[in-house]
């Protein structure tokens, strides 16, 4: 019990917080990366979102504690193993979201509203919607769009293109369906026990859905690079298409050929060509928007 904060932190899954980096997208594309006020506001928003999303995991683990004790891996989670007492977790699960939401409304009422919607949506996901086919992935995608929207509100973005919302939603759907496809491929017959909703999906169905969202994503991003407003008039943003395309194809490759993709966060860190391509994309976007 000595390390309550540490066990709390583990339960709040800091690894999953990388998803909250999407809050910075608006800052980057609205050319405010060097504007101290907006950077500070966005960093604050990022931290608040981490607390909010972490609290959802806390609540999730609290309700699942009995079930987790039966699971070969999940039994080692702080709550299931008893390293974190239920009262501490319960207290944190009530206090942390309240504080985070209150601070969010103080930071910006619009941001507070988005944070509230996000929090409620994630709870709805944990307590039922994750078992509803298609809706489960749509909620994951909505989570990304809300992060981007939150970033856009706190950065008071004026030049943030609607194209980017479309791209971000499609990207999120792509990652969501990719995750389901990997779970099906890796878990096989055991898929059902792991995630009930997987019985509704088949590899063919997921391939169809992925083909749909991937094509839409590629074409939406391509159109963005040359038809969005507030981009360099020499269309140099088109030079970033190959990196985006490579990353998407590489991700498909990892899912199909290496049976990876189960957790996008780990792929994001683990595959050197993929990481390199993303860095090149980021560097190219940065150079084109800020330097030239």
């Amino acid at each position: 019990m000595v390390l309550v904060p540490k066990q709390l932190l583990i339960t709040m899954r800091p690894r999953q917080w990388t998803k909250n980096l999407f809050i910075f997208v608006a800052l980057l594309f609205d050319l405010k990366l060097f504007d101290f006020t907006y950077v500070a506001r966005t960093v604050a928003a990022f931290i608040l979102f981490c607390i909010l999303s972490g609290s959802v995991y806390l609540i999730n683990d609290l309700t699942d504690v009995e079930k987790d004790r039966q699971h070969p891996v999940k039994r080692n989670r702080p709550l299931a193993s008893g390293r974190l007492s239920r009262s501490w977790a319960l207290g944190a699960a009530v206090v942390l979201p309240i504080i985070a939401l209150a601070l969010s409304f103080l930071l910006d009422p619009g941001f507070g509203l988005i944070g509230l919607v996000y929090f409620v949506m994630q709870l709805a996901y944990s307590f039922g919607l994750k078992n509803v086919v298609i809706v489960d992935v749509l909620i994951i995608a909505a989570g990304f769009v809300l992060r981007v929207a939150a970033g856009s509100v706190v950065a008071e973005a004026e030049r943030f293109s609607p194209w980017l919302y479309v791209c971000m939603s499609l990207l999120a759907l792509f990652l969501g369906f990719g995750k389901r496809r990997n779970e099906l491929a890796v878990l096989g017959a055991n898929a059902l026990g792991h995630r009930k909703v997987l019985q509704e999906y088949s590899p063919e169905l997921l391939d169809q859905m992925m083909a749909l969202v991937t094509s839409s994503l590629v074409i939406a991003y391509s159109l963005y690079t040359f038809s969005a407003e507030n981009l360099p008039s020499n269309k140099s943003m088109m030079l970033t298409i190959p990196f985006g395309l490579y990353s998407i194809f590489r991700y498909l490759y990892l899912i199909h050929q290496r049976n990876l993709g189960g957790s996008p966060e780990e792929i994001l860190m683990g595959d050197a060509p993929f990481v390199l391509s993303n860095l090149c994309w980021g560097a190219a976007v940065f150079l084109i928007l800020y330097v030239f």
Binding site: T214, I219, T225, P242, F249
Partner: protein, 289 residues
């Protein structure tokens, strides 16, 4: 020996260089004789340059080609052409065509040099990396279009041309790999290393991405692009593009056909007729109405 040399220059693949005329045709400049003359010269340069790169490619791949049912008959793989001849010819062709390109327009020289660099980098290195190999092929197509753009003295940059051309090139390259997987089966990776990295389902996914993107980009071009008629008649050409892509999808599934897109594009009557109709309709809409 000269006949064998021509064989190793893959004259049929020169067809790809026709992409170079796209900026001239779609920029409404096909009737300008001076530009057209310059384009023909540039086209010749590109053809000789690509032949130089094919020679390099066959020199690098000689051993691997011997495993391939069709490619083992290539002049270098079959030892009918001496390697020294091939090396010499590649050097002379590259030197002459680059020289002419720089004389015509120094920017053409620069783009053409990049083109040769990309083609050689592909043969020596990039052909071994999954995904990167098809992206490099698409890059070479885009450089062909850029050559045409320089020659046509294009004043406005046409993003559609590059997007449609790039996705179409990716489609042809991915289709070729899918066809090779079907024809060669287990031997596939021996012939092309990256085929170990591609599977039928992965290629299927990638092909659906690039085909959808080509169709959407082309459709948007027909009513948003530069120089298209006010009455949107360019939209009448969409069915041809759709048919061409779908027909090609059917053809790559058939193991009895040759693997290279150039040959499929020449040898399948429905596809040939469709492509001619498409070209004719585009030219008629742009220039007559």
């Amino acid at each position: 020996m000269v006949g064998e040399l021509f064989g190793a220059m893959h004259l049929r693949r020169w067809l790809k260089n026709i992409f170079m005329f796209a900026p001239l045709a779609f920029g409404m400049k096909l009737g300008m004789t001076d530009l057209f003359g310059r384009s023909v010269v540039a086209f010749a340069c590109l053809c000789l340059l690509s032949s130089a790169s094919y020679l390099v490619n066959d020199l690098v791949d000689t051993e691997r080609d011997r495993y391939h049912p069709a490619k083992r008959d290539r002049p270098l793989a079959a030892r009918r052409l001496k390697r020294s001849w091939a090396v010499g010819a590649a050097a002379v062709l590259a030197a002459i065509s680059l020289l002419v390109a720089f004389i015509v327009d120094y920017r053409l020289g620069l783009v053409a040099s990049t083109f040769l660099g990309v083609e050689i980098a592909y043969s020596l290195l990039l052909t071994n990396f999954v995904i990167l190999d098809v992206l490099t092929i698409a890059a070479a197509f885009i450089l062909r279009v850029m050559c045409g753009s320089v020659i046509a003295r294009a004043t406005t940059f046409s993003p559609w041309l590059y997007v449609c051309g790039g996705f179409l090139a990716l489609f042809l390259a991915l289709g070729k790999r899918r066809h090779e997987l079907i024809v060669l089966g287990d031997l596939a990776p021996k012939h092309r290393r990256t085929l170990a990295g591609y599977s039928s389902s992965l290629l299927g996914q990638m092909i659906s991405v690039v085909t959808s993107s080509t169709v959407i980009a082309y459709s948007l071009y027909t009513f948003w692009g530069a120089h298209v008629p006010e009455n949107k008649s360019m939209m009448l050409t969409i069915p041809f593009v759709l048919y061409g892509i779908l027909r090609y999808l059917v053809l790559i599934e058939r193991p009895d056909l040759p693997a290279s897109p150039e040959e499929i594009l020449i040898k399948d009557p429905p596809l040939v007729i469709n492509n001619l109709l498409w070209g004719g309709t585009v030219l008629a809409i742009l220039y007559l109405f």
